[in-house]
């Protein structure tokens, strides 16, 4: 029996690169526009949700989109969320209420939105996301705080995999109502050709997004599809429909293709390929990443990166079916408006097609809505499919839920077991296969064999 090799000490590391810098450039330009609007340049703006959004329609009227979720996560990643969360608790929000909501509401109550801050008071509030009842209340509260008109879109929850024709028509009818509200607000006439042009940019960005994700099927993966994906999530979700976002993805594809051609991965050695489920703990983003990095674990796919859209499975906005394709995106081509069983299938495809060794679920303490089925999910993957699955818990926004020692303990134990299994598999093969030589005292993993072995095991009905 050979010893489990230790995880090297976690090091402070700068996870930056070309795509991070390009993303930062265009996202900063957008934040600059928000700042100008906050200072009263007169440009209309609207609150919008990330998941399955219809940003293209706002863009068609030059309405500046504002995403309170992005405001909240920006606060968290800069370690500034807690005072705002507590501000919300002071006024009566419960301790286990969604921490995104509390950070945003606290930020607003503290004067962060409006002339004194960097976020403009929204001229209009568009609640496009009905996969979460709490979000409906959030936007109602925002509308009440700002006295801004609220447009509540009712997106039927998708049952049975596909939306019905009536569902699509229902959402399209609401989009026409939204267009009428935008016309009223801006005094401008709806321009269908402009919308088609915007959708062409959307489709180009979506194509680039999908190609980047596809490149992570390579060994080593050119980027971490969980931690590095946030560099692409800003442009795809907030800036979709702009030339800048489309160009950004063209450049990202070029860059990542080059890394693949040169065999350059995220880490010096890609030892474990994982799929992740659930948002990251933004208040401890780098700490959390370091815990995986110390084991040479790289996420080759993540569900969180698809909250805005599941484009890697082929959907594109279609300039020839403008409103219909926007309705379809909102209804079904995003992570959130679908059943948990659909999510299982998405993860299963990730594990099999991206050849992952394991699944890691990060459950969100202040979001029971999306965490509720994760215990079953863990069982399904670990017991029915035989995919090693780790479930850890903290929060996406509230730093009080993150305990580093406990988190590290779980992650270390999980990878110790995976590593041990791999070593043992290699030892068994070495003992039986003459091409590997006789049994070594301390077996080392044979990467190619381990990969083939893991792959076989993960396939449905595969020999193990």
């Amino acid at each position: 029996m050979s010893a489990v090799a230790p995880a090297p000490a976690s090091q402070a590391k700068e996870y930056r690169g070309v795509v991070h810098d390009l993303s930062s450039e265009i996202m900063t330009a957008w934040l600059g526009q928000l700042r100008e609007a906050a200072r009263g340049d007169g440009r209309p703006s609207a609150y919008l949700m990330i998941s399955g959004n219809c940003v293209e329609i706002l863009r068609c009227f030059d309405i500046l989109p504002i995403f309170p979720e992005i405001n909240a996560l920006q606060l968290a990643i800069r370690k500034k969320s807690l005072p705002y969360i507590m501000k919300s608790e002071e006024v009566g929000y419960a301790s286990d209420n969604c921490a995104y909501v509390k950070a945003d509401v606290g930020f607003t109550l503290s004067g962060g939105v409006g002339p004194g801050g960097n976020i403009p008071r929204p001229t209009m509030i568009v609640c496009n996301f009905v996969g979460c009842n709490v979000y409906i209340k959030w936007f109602e509260h925002c509308a009440a705080m700002f006295g801004s008109p609220l447009v509540m879109l009712d997106i039927p929850f998708v049952r049975g995999g596909r939306p019905s024709r009536a569902d699509v028509d229902y959402v399209q009818a609401q989009l026409r109502e939204l267009i009428a509200r935008c016309e009223e607000l801006t005094g401008r006439k709806f321009d269908l050709d402009r919308l088609r042009e915007i959708l062409r940019y959307s489709a180009r960005a979506e194509e680039g997004w999908s190609r980047c994700k596809e490149l992570c099927k390579q060994r080593p993966a050119p980027f971490d599809a969980y931690f590095d994906s946030i560099n692409m999530m800003g442009p795809i979700n907030a800036l979709r429909g702009t030339k800048e976002a489309a160009d950004f993805f063209d450049r990202a594809v070029t860059h990542y293709s080059d890394l693949v051609a040169r065999g350059v991965g995220v880490l010096p050695e890609e030892r474990f390929r994982i799929v992740t489920e659930g948002p990251p703990p933004y208040p401890y983003y780098r700490n959390f990443r370091n815990l995986f990095e110390s084991w040479g674990a790289v996420a080759v796919q993540s569900t969180y990166s698809t909250v805005g859209g599941t484009w890697e499975f082929g959907f594109r906005h279609d300039p020839d079916r403008p409103l219909e394709s926007i309705a379809e995106q909102m209804l079904v081509h995003n992570l959130c408006n679908r059943t948990l069983l659909d999510r299982y299938q998405q993860i299963r495809a990730y594990v099999e097609e991206w050849q992952a060794d394991a699944l890691v679920i990060h459950s969100i303490k202040s979001c029971r809505l999306f965490s509720a089925g994760q215990g079953d999910m863990r069982e399904y993957f670990s017991k029915e499919l035989g995919v090693p699955t780790l479930m850890v818990e903290s929060d996406l926004e509230d730093p009080r839920y993150y305990a580093e020692a406990q988190m590290k303990n779980r992650i270390d134990a999980f990878f110790e077991a995976l590593q041990y299994k791999r070593l043992r598999g290699a030892a068994a093969r070495a003992a039986t296969d003459e091409t590997h030589g006789s049994a070594a005292r301390v077996p080392l993993p044979c990467e190619g064999c381990a990969a083939a072995h893991e792959k076989t095991r993960l396939l449905p009905g595969g020999a193990s």
Partner: protein, 277 residues
Amino acid sequence: MKYAVGIDVGSTQTKAVMLDPARAILARVLLNTGANVKLAGQRALETLLSDSGVPREEVGFVVGTGYGRYKIEAGDTQVTEISCHARGAQMLFPGTRTVIDMGGQDTKAIKVGSEGDVLDFCMNDKCAAGTGRFLAGAAEVLGMKLEEIGPAALKGARPIRLSSVCTVFVESEILGYLAARQSIQDILAGVHEAIATRTVALVRRVGIEPEVTFTGGVARNVGMVRALEKKLAQPLNVSPEAHYMGALGAALFALDHVLARPEAASVEDVPAAWVGQ
């Protein structure tokens, strides 16, 4: 350079074990961790050396485990206590397929392979509800010593039903039952039953496969052993040295390193002296 040491620096106590190349235990120590975690690890190693009479240079490898594992200066490497408990339990009870480890502030359920490898594990939430700390809280409010509450619980014929296993709220709830003139034995029986119920739910998440081995400091509590056996409807393997299991596992990992060295003599698997006690 033929001896192996495992040091388990836990939240409450530090445990350490020294093994010879035949996996026989030469020495073991148990001391309170206290505020200085680094010192606890150091003292544990010093005590092992003096108790065994083995000179420091004869110790070939030291593995640290437990929450304080990165603070152990003598540690050549670190392994989580999850892997260590699995390994230790499998050495003492080779038929082990499930390990329940109950310590000062966490409870773990571990599914174990035939070689002591971890197949799956689950731990309690970020909260000490239903762990050793909960029992300590109950003992304190009843004015009893920790070692007294297990035997007392066995005498409770009508266990009370606790509304929660919150370590903080248990005290006021117990006070309420005392005021209502419930017997201490019935209260303690209820306390143990509540923890057992919660623990079995945790173990079900990894799957309960016999044999089940109970490790960690709380395994010394006979009330807890019986309550778990009742809920699981099967006997538990319990070693009188259950609280050393993490340190033993760490020492076994250390021994792997010692034996992997070319100069190490070939050693047959020798049954450990502890089994069957």
